[in-house]
């Protein structure tokens, strides 16, 4: 399992802190490039809020469009963090080590970005801020009896997402403490002072390590239910709606969660490949890690495909004309059927085909293609679940219409992608995106077992 050599700690420090201590030439150029799109998106959002919702492509029939799709997409991406950190930590998979930090950070940023979407999506964002977004932070105006409606999935949503966000941030910080201490010792001036505060007096003594490990394991276990609940609740935004046919499906919760893990882990793999390439971390993000993630992804993808087939099949099962109309739209009518074709191909058949072969899993180009294709596919999946179902002719209306996004929506969507990338890049200037201590720990636990004439890699078990 563990190939690669065991590096001295000094070199691990030097390599992994490279992204922080020296800044490559391309860094600020790419940040500026991304910042342009982010700014453009924010200005567009301002324009949208100023002019009203008329500037989007939505209409009386299709009331939820690109923003909701994008919201669900980014919430989905955020499921990578816990999947990789918590589950693999609890199951003691050794190959998780270089992937955890990047996954957790991606979780935090994608959650933040995701929550911008429903804010922009609502008709009066300034009131939404008050009603929904203050929920975890500011007590409600209980004195005047102003309550949110807890029966609404839209109130469950922010509750779950913010719980997840808070616990993910805690998770990241706890894992960062030892690394902050390393940085504190290697910086001077203002940054030294900031890192001192962030390291919270980390000395690296046995008691601190013990507490840190306990906190990590406890948070992993506690965060798991939150992790499952987040995307389930997001799916129930749709699953609870009886009037849009094909949304009211019991399978939505697990289907969305598995889909989220699928897209999230793929995104993490892609981020890892980028990091490996950008900072030259070949010794840390090794092919065997990508390989193991690829194998995990085959399983996740197949599980996802099972749920997908169930969802489609039981869509037809009822033989109800209004539900069949949605399916007819998805599978038979342009442009949905073309999108459907690409969606299924890009989400399952292309990537799994690439992941089945060991040498292809270890080819970074093919791996990148597969991971990007999964994410395009998963974006399309959400789009195809949400929009055709709304756009079909409803029972009691002659006034149905399809949906085409306006430039405003497209600008904002592009901006979210730029924003997550930019935030990841900026953070790589501040904290190491591969956990130093985790790599070192993994190296310490590595050993070998002699069986007959063969030397087999082995690991120490701590329990």
């Amino acid at each position: 399992m563990q190939e690669g050599r065991v590096l001295p700690s000094r070199q691990i420090n030097a390599d992994l802190l490279r992204s922080i201590l020296n800044s490559p030439k391309w860094f600020w150029i790419s940040v500026a490039f991304l910042a342009f799109f982010v700014l453009a998106a924010f200005s567009t959002a301002g324009f949208l809020i100023n002019r009203g919702y008329g500037v989007t492509g939505l209409n009386n029939q299709v009331l939820w469009g690109f923003f909701i799709t994008n919201f669900v997409f980014w919430i989905g991406i955020s499921h990578a963090g816990v999947m990789l950190s918590a589950i693999l930590r609890l199951s003691k998979a050794e190959w998780r080590r270089p992937a955890t930090r990047a996954a957790e950070v991606l979780t935090v940023f994608s959650l933040m970005t995701a929550m911008l979407m429903p804010l922009i999506h609502t008709g009066r964002p300034w009131r939404t801020l008050y009603w929904i977004y203050t929920l975890p932070f500011v007590p409600y105006d209980f004195a005047r009896g102003i309550w949110p409606n807890v029966r609404s999935p839209l109130v469950w949503d922010p509750s779950a997402v913010y719980t997840y966000l808070t616990s993910s941030i805690l998770f990241v910080i706890i894992a960062l403490l030892p690394d902050f201490a390393v940085l504190r010792d290697r910086t001077t001036g203002l940054s030294h002072r900031i890192y001192s505060v962030l390291a919270m007096g980390w000395q690296g003594n046995a008691r601190q390590w013990k507490l840190q490990i306990i906190a990590g394991v406890l948070l992993s276990a506690l965060i798991l239910p939150v992790f499952v609940s987040v995307h389930s609740i997001v799916s129930w935004d749709f699953g609870m709606a009886v009037s849009i046919k094909s949304w009211h499906s019991t399978i939505f919760a697990p289907y969305f969660v598995v889909g989220a893990v699928h897209s999230g882990v793929s995104a993490v793999v892609f981020v890892m490949i980028l990091l490996r390439w950008a900072y030259g971390w070949q010794d840390y993000i090794r092919l065997e890690h990508i390989d193991a993630l690829g194998r995990l992804l085959v399983v996740v993808a197949t599980g996802w495909f099972y749920f997908f087939v169930m969802e489609i099949l039981f869509g037809f099962y009822g033989m109800e004309s209004d539900e069949l109309a949605v399916r007819n739209m998805q599978f038979m009518e342009q442009p949905w059927n073309i999108l459907m074709f690409f969606f299924v191909g890009l989400t399952y058949f292309l990537p799994v085909g690439l992941w089945l072969t060991r040498s292809w899993r270890r080819n970074l180009w093919l791996m990148s293609i597969a991971c990007i294709s999964v994410n395009i596919g998963m974006w399309l999946e959400r789009f195809l679940i949400f929009v055709p179902a709304q756009a079909r002719k409803q029972v009691f209306t002659f006034n149905w219409y399809t949906y085409a996004p306006s430039i405003v929506e497209i600008m904002i969507i592009v901006g979210t992608f730029a924003m997550v990338t930019m935030l990841m890049l900026l953070l790589s200037r501040v904290v190491p995106l591969i956990p130093l201590y985790d790599i070192k720990e993994g190296d310490i636990l590595k050993t070998q077992v002699q069986i007959g004439r063969r030397t087999v890699p082995a690991t120490f078990r701590e329990d």
Binding site: G52, Y53, G54, L58, N59, N60, Q61, L63, W64, P118, H121, T122, G123, R124, P125, R127, T128, W131, I132, W147, P148, N149, R151, S152, P153, L154, V155, D237, M240, A241, V242, S243, I244, Q390, Q394, V395, F396, T397, F398, N399, Y401
Partner: protein, 268 residues
Amino acid sequence: MTTPKPRIDHKWGMVVDLDRCTGCQACVVACQSENNLPINTKDVFLQRRAYEWIRIERYWEGEFPNVKARFIPIMCQHCENAPCEPVCPVFATYHNDEGLNVQVYNRCIGTRYCANNCPYQVRFFNYWEPVWPERMRHQLNPDVTIRSRGVMERCSFCIQRIRRAELTVERQEQGKLDHKTMKERNFLPACAMACPTNALQFGDQGDASGPVHHYFEEANHRLEERHHRTERVEEHPSRVYRLLEEMGTKPNVIYLKRVEMFPVKKEA
């Protein structure tokens, strides 16, 4: 100090007699002007963002030349189990104790969830700030709020008229508030008033002398019976039905089937 006002426990309901409906759209126009609906210009219509609180749906039955136009007025059904209500995160839409599904514009943040969850497609979103030509400024009804962009709206059974009737009764008749005095003060919604054939009947479901009472009795009785039945029986034929009964929404609007004098001949 105000003494507690005398009140009737109203439960409003509407009966739409499709046999009388001619599809003349008078109700649509009446509603438009009563409730300060923005003008559905060509632009807005082409954006598919035009709306009417009450609309006449038109269907064709049969094949040319043996063809018939069918129409059915559809407004908010004021469901007892309204699917739109539980999904609103801010209680902007809720059920009041008079059987009305009410919309609080000030609370609405425009998630548009309620519209997605309405099986009757009667909830509309204000995509644009409503504007009227200058010369129509005095046409606006002062009793009705003008909804800003970004909120949902839909038929309210002209709640302003009901309230005005109640207030007038209280003021003029020293609180002798009963079904009779209410009726004299005219609480009818604009559509019902405008209907030339009296196809739209509005009233209190509990008022035995009112126009809708016995229809609701019958409909509720049938629903109740059906729930306690253990096998299928031949039901007594009746004109009374509700839209999408199987959704379990229990609308407070009842439709009466059209009696077909000359039914469309079905192809053999």
